[in-house]
Structures are given as C-alpha cells and as structure tokens.
C-alpha cells in the first residue's frame, strides 16, 4: 500500500521527544521500598505528625490491605507492585526560605526549565506558588500577603503543624479512607500536598497554584490536597504537573478534597502533562486520582481540566451537591495519543433541591489510544427541581484509536431535568486538505480545529493556564491525523 503523507507525519511525531523529560540531581533522603505498618510509622514520625493523624493513617492502611485492586473494562495495564515503591523521598535542603536567594540553585534551575521561574510569577498577576517536589513542599511565596486576609495557603505538612484543628475537622470528610483502593492507599502514605483555607466572606485576590514533580525512580506520588472555603468565600486554584522521563511506571495516586460551605465558590483548574509513555506504551505515569468536592447551600465548585499526559489515567472529579441551590461544574479536554489509555469522567450527586450540574467533556483520541468517558448523574429523591446538562464529545483522529462513552443517568426524582448529548466526529483528510488549499499549514490546521473543538472548555481556564493549555493541546497532537 502506498505510504501517504499522513503515515510519514505520524512517524515524525512519535519520534518527538517528551519536552519536559529531565531530572534534577539533588540529594534525596529516601527510605527503602516496601509498604507495611512500620513504613507508615516512619513517614509519620519523619513528618513530626500528631498521634491522631498516625492513627488515621494506620486505619487507612488496614482498610487498604483488605481491599482488592479494581479492574477496569477499557483500561489495560501492568499492575504496579506496591512493595517495590519507596514511599518517602525528600530533598535534604530545608524547606523554608525567607527569600528566593536561599532556594537551592539547582531547584531554581529546575523551575526555570519548567518555565515557571518564581521571578516570572512575581512579575505576573501575583500568583502565589507552592512548589512541590518529590513529596516535600519547597517554596511558598506571598504567604504574608495572603496572611493579611486570613487566607492560609501552605503545604499540608505545615498545616498539620500549625492548624491541626482545621485539618482534623475536614480531612477525610469528603473522601473517606475506605472510599476506594487508591484513596485508601493515599490516606495511609500521603506525604504532602497543598492546604488552602479561605475565611468567611473573603475573596482570594490571586490565583493559587501548585506544581508537582516526580523525581526519584520508583517513588510513588501520594499528594493530598485539602481546600476549605468558608461561607461566602471564593478561591481559584490551579494545579499543573510535569514529570521526567523514566523507564519504570510511576504511580500518581492523589486525593483532592474540596469543602465549599454555604455560598462559597471554588474553581479548581488542572493542566496535566505527565509523561505518557513512549510510542510503544512503555514507561509513563499511572495517574489514579480521587478528586471530590462537597457543596453546601448555594455554593459552587467548578472542575476544569486539560489532560494530555500519563500512560494510564483513572480520574473522576466529582461534586456532591449536598446543599439546596448548589452548583457543580465539570469542564474537561482529555487528549490521548499513541498508546495512552484514559478512563475518566465525573460524578454529580444531586442531594439538594434545585441543585444544578453542567458537564462538558471533550475527548480527543489519536494514535492507538483509548479514551473512555464515564459520567454519572445521580438525582436523589430529595433533589426537587434539579437540573443537569451534559455534553460529551469525542474527536477521533486516526482509525486505530477508540472513544467510548458511558453515561449513567439515575433519576430518582420525577421533577428532575436531565439532558445528555454525545457526538462523535473525525478530523479527516478532507478537512486538512481544505485548510491546506487555503494556505494554512497542517500543524496550524490541526491547531485551529482542536482549539475550536475545545474552546468551550479552554474558555473556563484562568488566562495564563489557558495559554499553556492551548500550546499543550497542539503539541500533543502534532502530526496525528491519519
């Protein structure tokens, strides 16, 4: 069969190296691989945690030991060996810095490579950055400014030391230890993450952001994030991840809990670019994440995400719409290429009257990837007059990729209004040729088409994220029409 131009372009893109693949050589304090009660005690003591937290971890570990790893119909992967992972790795340098001059220059170099140098951040809109690397938070800036408003934004480890009552009150209240296999594991061995607390009526003046990196080979990443928005408050939180190139699969099993009290609003945006594995599907990050928010009366939680990385993704940001008049939103663009597999979606649980949810999910599949969307809309008997609107679109770019949609609609209240739409379309040779004939190059054409397709979601991202997200989308799909 003749080789088309598409074939040649596909060859070109799969040879394209992962932009962010590099390692930082910093001394790390790592414990031996393996997981048992003893390891948990070590972690807890290294972090100087109070007794109640150790008990909480141990309870989680017990629950996890009794659980079985889940199997998912549309995702195939080699199960990680949990005994072969080291559960703690911290750079030896101290983590508190009065100014950036005191930050390890290697770290600064790392941040530069990631394109997020702290200097730049300072000059921009005043984004406060909590830089997480290898299970320990490194730099926290703007702490004072936020402090004036009563906003707490720090690492979870710090919060446990300085605001234990807040952590104790809310930790596990949205995602209990026994929620699922990975949540249980995370509850037992989480090392750090972000903690965010916005007091009553305060509108957080800047976007809060955090970055992750997995550095050491064989280190699982178990981040735990807790965001508490008191009555009438507002916060916009950005999460963006990158990871270096590795042969072994790296596990990322994070938990994010959001508590949005009466009339509060939390926007949680993610741009995820974990290493997706090479074109044979080897290496790459396993991303098993539990993200959930609980909305009290008239409050709102929006999950916005752009996902282009990781070898295997299992992720369902959810909202429990507990309060009357609460709103849950989910906007997502998920790209899979080469041999990536994604089984993602969302859950909107309507408990409160007049609760509303909106789901806009745009999947883009290319190469030999498999992209599944699983969405659950559950209307409980007490959820009078609730409404849901879901759009789930799939865009296929090759004839070897797959897109699957599984909407689950459970309505136990007759006044509910649920709308679901799903479409599947192709970027075909004809569309590319049409653009070429108008003088637009193929890469630009794909960029135009993909941006047009994803614009409903990209519009929801905070601006600086939107720019990175758009670039990311185009890069991850270069040459992928075929």
């Amino acid at each position: 069969m003749e080789r088309t131009d598409e074939d040649k372009l596909i060859d070109e893109v799969t040879g394209k190296s992962y932009e962010f693949g590099f390692t930082t050589d910093i001394e790390s304090d790592t414990i031996a691989p393996g997981l048992d009660e003893g390891v948990i005690r070590i972690i807890s003591s290294k972090k100087n945690e109070p007794e109640w937290l150790l008990e909480w971890r141990l309870a989680a570990f017990k629950v996890w030991s009794d659980m079985e790893e889940p199997n998912w119909a549309h995702v195939e992967y080699e199960k990680p060996d949990f005994q072969a992972i080291s559960y703690y790795s911290a750079p030896k340098k101290k983590k508190e810095f009065a100014s950036l001059d005191e930050v390890d220059p290697e770290l600064l170099k790392t941040m530069d490579k990631l394109g997020i140098s702290i200097e730049e951040q300072k000059r921009l809109s005043g984004v406060a950055v909590d830089f997480v690397m290898d299970s320990v938070s490194v730099a926290t800036s703007f702490k004072e400014k936020l402090g004036e408003l009563g906003v707490i934004f720090c690492s979870l480890g710090e919060a446990i030391q300085e605001h234990p009552e807040l952590v104790r009150k809310h930790l596990g209240s949205v995602v209990p230890q026994k929620d699922n296999y990975y949540a249980a594991l995370n509850s037992a061995v989480f090392t750090d993450g972000s903690f965010c607390y916005i007091p009553k009526g305060v509108r957080c003046p800047m976007e809060l952001s955090t970055y992750f990196r997995i550095n050491q080979a064989g280190t699982g990443q178990f981040e735990r994030t807790l965001i508490i928005a008191e009555e009438g408050s507002y916060v916009s939180y950005l999460e963006g991840c990158t990871a270096p190139q590795r042969d072994e699969n790296q596990l990322h099993a994070a938990v994010v809990e959001i508590i949005s009290l009466d009339e509060a609003e939390v926007k949680y945006s993610t741009v995820q670019n974990w290493y997706p594995g090479d074109k044979q599907g080897k290496g790459g990050v396993f991303n098993f994440v539990t993200k959930r928010g609980i909305c009290h009366r008239a409050s709102k939680i929006s999950w916005t995400q752009v996902e282009t990385g990781s070898a295997v993704t299992w992720k369902y940001p959810s909202c429990i719409l507990k309060g009357d008049d609460s709103i849950g939103e989910f906007f997502s663009v998920a790209v899979t290429n080469n041999m990536q597999q994604a089984d993602t979606g969302t859950k909107m649980i309507h408990l409160g009257k007049r609760s509303r949810s909106t789901i806009i999910s745009k999947g883009i599949s290319s190469g030999h990837s498999q992209n599944s969307y699983r969405g659950l809309v559950q209307i409980h008997p007490g959820a009078e007059d609730s409404r849901n609107f879901s759009v789930c679109d799939s865009l296929l770019m090759t004839d070897t990729c797959g897109a699957h949609t599984f909407p689950y609609i459970e309505a136990k209240n007759p006044t509910a209004q649920i709308e679901h739409e799903a479409t599947t379309s192709k970027i075909g040779d004809d569309q590319i040729f049409y653009c070429l004939q108008r003088g637009i190059e193929e890469e630009e054409a794909i960029g135009l088409i993909v941006k047009g397709y994803a614009k409903d979601v990209l519009n929801k991202l905070p601006m600086e994220f939107a720019v990175e997200a758009q670039k990311l989308l185009t890069i991850s799909l270069e040459g992928s029409v075929g």
Binding site: T4, D5, Q431, E444, I449
Partner: protein, 254 residues
C-alpha cells in the same frame, strides 16, 4: 499564467488524465466541460495538489514556477485557489478565524505583517456583500449547517478574501437553484480582472450564460478533445456530448 503540458495523472491504478494540454493567459476565463468521468475533478485535484492523485508525467508551469513541485499550502500561498465541489465542514472553527489564518499565512509568505483587525473586518464586510453572505453565516463554523447554496457562496466569499491569481471553480453550479446561481455568478464576475485567471469546471452549460467564458474546452476521457469560444457551449447544449466520443483526430478532421 498557466501552462499545462501533456499532463498524465492517475488515482490508484486508474489513469484519468491522459496527456492534457492547456494554456491560460492572465485575465482569461476558461470553461472546462465534459461528461461524467472525463477527468474534470481530477484536473482540479491535481492542480491543487491533492495527495491521492499521482502525476505520471507532464508539467504544469504557473507564472514561471513548477507547480507540481510545491505542496498544496504553498501553491495556495502562491495564488492558486480551488472552490470545492463539495465544500468541507469544519465544526468549531469560525469562518472568520479560518479566513484570518489563511490571509495571514499568505501575507507572511510575502513578508508582510499580519492584517490589522480593522482592515480585516472591512474586507470581510465587502466580500460578504459581494455574495450576499449573511452576517450570521460569517460568524458560524466553516460550512457547518450551511445549505448547498450557502456553501458555494462561502467558497466565492473566500475567493474574494484571498484574491488569488488563478481560481479553479470545481462544479460550483452543481446543486444551485437559479437565484443562488445568479448570486454566485455575480461574485465571480466581480472578481474578473486582467491579472486574474479562471478555470471554470462545469457539467451544466447553464452557468456559462451567467459567467461568459473566453474559451470553452471539452474534456473527454482524460484529454481536451475540442476547444472553442463560447459558442461551443451552446453547441454542447444542443448536441450533448455523444458526438465527441470519437477520437480527437476524427473531431478535428485530421
């Protein structure tokens, strides 16, 4: 402007163009007619550089450039425009953004700055009124939800925006009712100039009542078997194509 010499081209294993010769000078409008399967659309595809069509031999010279050496997008930026027989829908990409991207690609090729927003919008206004293209259609996604007539008008709108040197209209009149045909023809006629050439491929003679050609060629079985002035179109209207199924020698009484 355009010199096609002995062009032979195939799709898969089928040779469709079997030694086509054609010369188009600046300012001229050539009509190409012929029965189904004669190679009309193949000619358009080959000139625009469509992948699945392979040139076996022959040459195409466009203003001193070897056109066959260039990629599709390069040919476009050099000034070749193809109005598609079945224009493609591109959901999510607005008509305006599409035009802006194309215009700027052409300008960049010429070493110019991207077009200013104000100038762009003014240009859009002029070109859309030329083909009576509704303001709402301009803002929609490329050809999505457009009727057949609207799609064809959109092609002419794009042609007006991009101001090509050579415009190839591939069966632009197919599927158009009288009113749409009138509007499309008006647009094409308004774009005629001494610096611009047209190759109008048509199956139905009716178009040529509105867009009067300088030359008419009949394409049959991959070659041009007869050429003439606009009267030839009328002759075809009366006689059909059967009388041309003889070999070129017989027709030209050689």
């Amino acid at each position: 402007m355009l010199k096609i010499k002995n062009l032979r081209a195939k799709v898969g294993n089928n040779e469709i163009l079997k030694g086509l010769n054609l010369e188009v000078k600046p300012g001229e409008l050539h009509a190409i007619m012929g029965p189904n399967g004669s190679g009309k659309s193949t000619l358009a595809a080959v000139l625009s550089g469509r992948d699945s069509y392979e040139v076996i031999s022959g040459s195409v010279n466009f203003d001193g450039i070897d056109l066959l050496e260039l990629e599709t997008s390069e040919r476009a930026r050099e000034g070749v425009f193809l109005a598609f027989q079945y224009p493609i829908e591109i959901p999510g990409v607005s008509n305006l953004n599409f035009m802006k991207a194309a215009l700027n690609a052409k300008r960049a090729h010429k070493g110019l700055e991207p077009i200013k927003a104000k100038d762009f919008l003014a240009k859009v206004k002029d070109c859309s009124s030329l083909v009576e293209l509704d303001g709402r259609l301009r803002d929609r996604s490329v050809n999505e939800g457009f009727s057949g007539g609207e799609k064809k008008r959109n092609e002419i709108f794009q042609m007006a925006m991009l101001e090509p040197k050579l415009a190839i209209l591939d069966e632009t009149d197919s599927g158009l009712d009288i009113d749409a045909l009138r509007v499309v023809s008006k647009g094409v006629n308004a774009m005629r100039s001494s610096e611009r050439s047209f190759i109008v491929i048509t199956h139905y003679q009716r178009l040529l009542d509105h867009i009067v050609p300088d030359f008419v060629h009949v394409l049959s079985d991959g070659c041009i078997v007869k050429s003439g002035g606009k009267e030839l179109a009328l002759e075809l209207e009366e006689k059909g194509y059967d009388w041309l199924k003889k070999s070129p020698h017989e027709i030209h009484n050689i």
